[in-house]
């Protein structure tokens, strides 16, 4: 199955070029480079990451400088000076939207890395060693898996309190609730790789457990984990905005799209720009990472075609 919107090249075309057996990775890379969804997604993602790292390239106004806000020009529509209008406090919405990218991208990437390393690592251990390590890890994972993420995060963050809330606590709350998903996927992939002939051969040749795990099983089990991790990235970004909107995520004066939406809400029917622009950027960001995830899945998981 192909979930991308581009036309896939016919299967034979790809087979013909593969005269010598290509590895999964070079095959996947070959597919990705020709995938329009992947190209659009990665260009968008790169621009957003650049925006998060160096917001001053995109905006000459430093949104973190309160001196740039002018109450006299509060809640103005789109003008030549303020491309996206101004918000309730007279701050420039364009620069705030640009500076807001940082929180979303940071939460998305850090949470993805942490859940992948922790969940994936535990899944590797559980799948490879089995027995009590599997029982223990899988049971614990099941418990966290049974909590709907937004609810669990809301609970954790409301207990931690708004005084301590920030990027770190949001990452922690989402991480606690999402690692079991990666564990499950890694564990299943490891178990199916464990019994294959090349692993038996490596063992017969006297390879140690550690070597088999890292050199033979991990490269053959990591593909579905990478797919899930990429798809999760967009979900984390949306979750951060949702939690910040609900008041338990990052707090003012940190600039976050979710917070901007929440701040603009009381006036939004009369003056929608301060709400619509962060909402637009949020959707584009999620879209970019969902497109990447879709494309990576199609490339790495040919079974799903």
């Amino acid at each position: 199955m192909s979930d991308t919107i581009t036309q896939q090249p016919p299967k034979h075309a790809r087979r013909v070029k593969a005269e010598k057996p290509a590895s999964l990775w070079s095959d996947a890379w070959y597919d990705l480079r020709r995938n329009k969804v992947f190209l659009i997604g990665s260009v968008l993602a790169l621009i957003l990451i650049l925006m998060a790292a160096f917001p001053s390239i995109f905006s000459h106004i430093n949104a973190y400088d309160p001196a740039t806000c002018d109450l006299k020009t509060a809640r103005r529509g789109i003008t030549g000076e303020h491309w996206f209008g101004t918000d309730n406090l007279g701050c420039d919405t364009y620069s705030r939207v640009i500076y807001g990218a940082r929180v979303s991208i940071l939460v998305g990437i850090i949470t993805t890395v942490i859940t992948t390393v922790v969940g994936g690592g535990m899944g590797l251990v559980a799948g490879f060693f089995g027995r009590w390590s599997d029982v223990l890890l899988s049971r614990v994972a099941e418990i966290f898996f049974a909590i709907p993420p937004i609810l669990g995060a809301l609970l954790i963050l409301s207990v931690i309190g708004r005084d301590n809330a920030g990027i770190g606590t949001v990452v922690m709350a989402l991480g606690v609730l999402y690692w079991p998903l990666l564990l499950r996927i890694m564990r299943a992939a490891v178990i199916s790789a464990k019994n294959q002939d090349f692993v038996v051969a490596a063992r017969a040749l006297g390879a140690s457990s550690g070597r088999i795990m890292i050199r033979h099983i991990l490269p053959n089990a990591v593909a579905p984990v990478i797919v899930t991790a990429t798809l999760n990235l967009g979900a984390f970004i949306a979750a951060e905005a949702g939690l910040s909107f609900l008041g338990v995520g990052v707090q003012s004066p940190t600039i976050s799209w979710g917070l901007m939406i929440s701040d603009a809400r009381p006036w939004f029917l009369a003056q929608p720009e301060p709400l619509l622009f962060p909402a637009l950027f949020l959707s584009i960001t999620v879209l970019a990472f969902v497109m990447l995830g879709d494309a990576v899945r199609d490339a790495l998981d040919p079974k799903l075609r």
């Binding site: 709907p148 937004i150 609810l151 967009g234 879709d294």
Partner: protein, 313 residues
């Protein structure tokens, strides 16, 4: 089947105990003393503080307190807030709103998701298929937070002012069932996308199987092949997805209810977080998590009934 059901039921017990314990411990680990906080800035009389601590059992060992909390939940008693309001009285009437919202979302999801999925599977590779996949990509990418406000603005202000026609109410539940249409759709968007893709994959897989080829080969009309053979067999994963999603939708209703001002359990949760009423937050989260776990359990059992091939491990 009997063995599978039993094992699945037994498996649910540690999950239920684990999730409730997790919720409990988080709140137990709460920094600060709730009794002192009740007194505000003034120091509370030690005798009263003592009495209150005894009343709420705050000095009991962790496991004893957990036991009180657990037995309370299963007898419908969620305790009282430290201000003396019964938590279960706060729940009254609000679950219905959330349930109705979740059910509306579920029906929309089933109609739109399955419909789009079937359409694209039957037009595989043509523009209709590409179009449906592009739509699902957009639906996944627009968070309910954005979708809710944008639709509220378009339908509630732009369209209404432009044409004078109110298609659907955009806030509150004043208009009865109609009020749930828009929030239900917003709540369902992500699930619509997933269900569309699931339907598409599932039907395409079934259409490739041998019994479909046999049915076509023996000259059965296309309608009958699709209706009788293909659809029935591709519906199994969809039914289970929908069942499990009911729990997820109720849990996810907090943002939608906040946007549309629906007086459900999600809006209450939002307000209680805002007012720092942790007892209420814990009560609501516990109930919603239990619904979610039980929905998944029921669905797993249902799956075994619908598809006799399934066996536990």
């Amino acid at each position: 089947m009997g063995r599978y059901a039993l094992r699945r039921l037994l498996q649910a017990i540690p999950v239920l105990v684990g999730t409730t314990f997790f919720i409990f411990v988080i709140v137990y680990a709460l920094p600060g003393d709730p009794i002192q906080a009740l007194g505000g800035d003034r120091r509370m009389d030690p005798v009263i503080a003592r009495a209150l601590r005894d009343k709420f059992g705050l000095d009991d060992p962790l496991l004893v307190q957990y036991w009180h909390y657990l037995t309370g939940i299963f007898s419908g008693n969620f305790g009282t807030t430290f201000r003396g309001v019964e938590v279960s009285s706060i729940f009254a009437g609000k679950f219905q709103v959330t349930l109705q919202l979740a059910l509306t979302a579920l029906v929309m999801e089933a109609i739109i998701g399955v419909g789009l999925g079937l359409w694209s599977a039957l037009r595989r590779g043509r523009w209709q298929d590409q179009f449906v996949l592009a739509v699902t990509l957009l639906l996944v990418s627009i968070p309910p937070l954005v979708m809710g406000f944008v639709l509220q603005l378009w339908l509630g202000v732009k369209f209404k002012l432009g044409t004078g026609i109110e298609l659907v109410p955009v806030a509150g539940i004043g208009a009865g069932e109609k009020s749930y249409l828009l929030p239900g759709f917003v709540l369902a968007t992500t699930s619509i996308a997933y269900l569309t893709r699931l339907t598409r994959t599932s039907l395409m897989e079934t259409l490739r199987s041998d019994f479909i080829r046999t049915a076509v080969a023996k000259g059965m009309p296309r309608r009958r092949v699709l209706g009788r053979h293909a659809l029935r067999n591709s519906l199994i994963p969809l039914v289970t997805y929908l069942g499990a999603d009911l729990g997820a939708l109720m849990g996810g209703a907090v943002i939608t209810e906040t946007i549309f001002n629906l007086p459900g359990i999600g809006l209450q949760l939002f307000q209680s977080v805002y007012l720092r009423e942790n007892t209420v937050v814990v009560g609501i989260v516990t109930v919603l998590v239990l619904i979610y776990v039980v929905a998944n359990l029921v669905v797993d059992l249902l799956y075994a009934v619908l598809d006799p091939r399934i066996r536990y491990e």
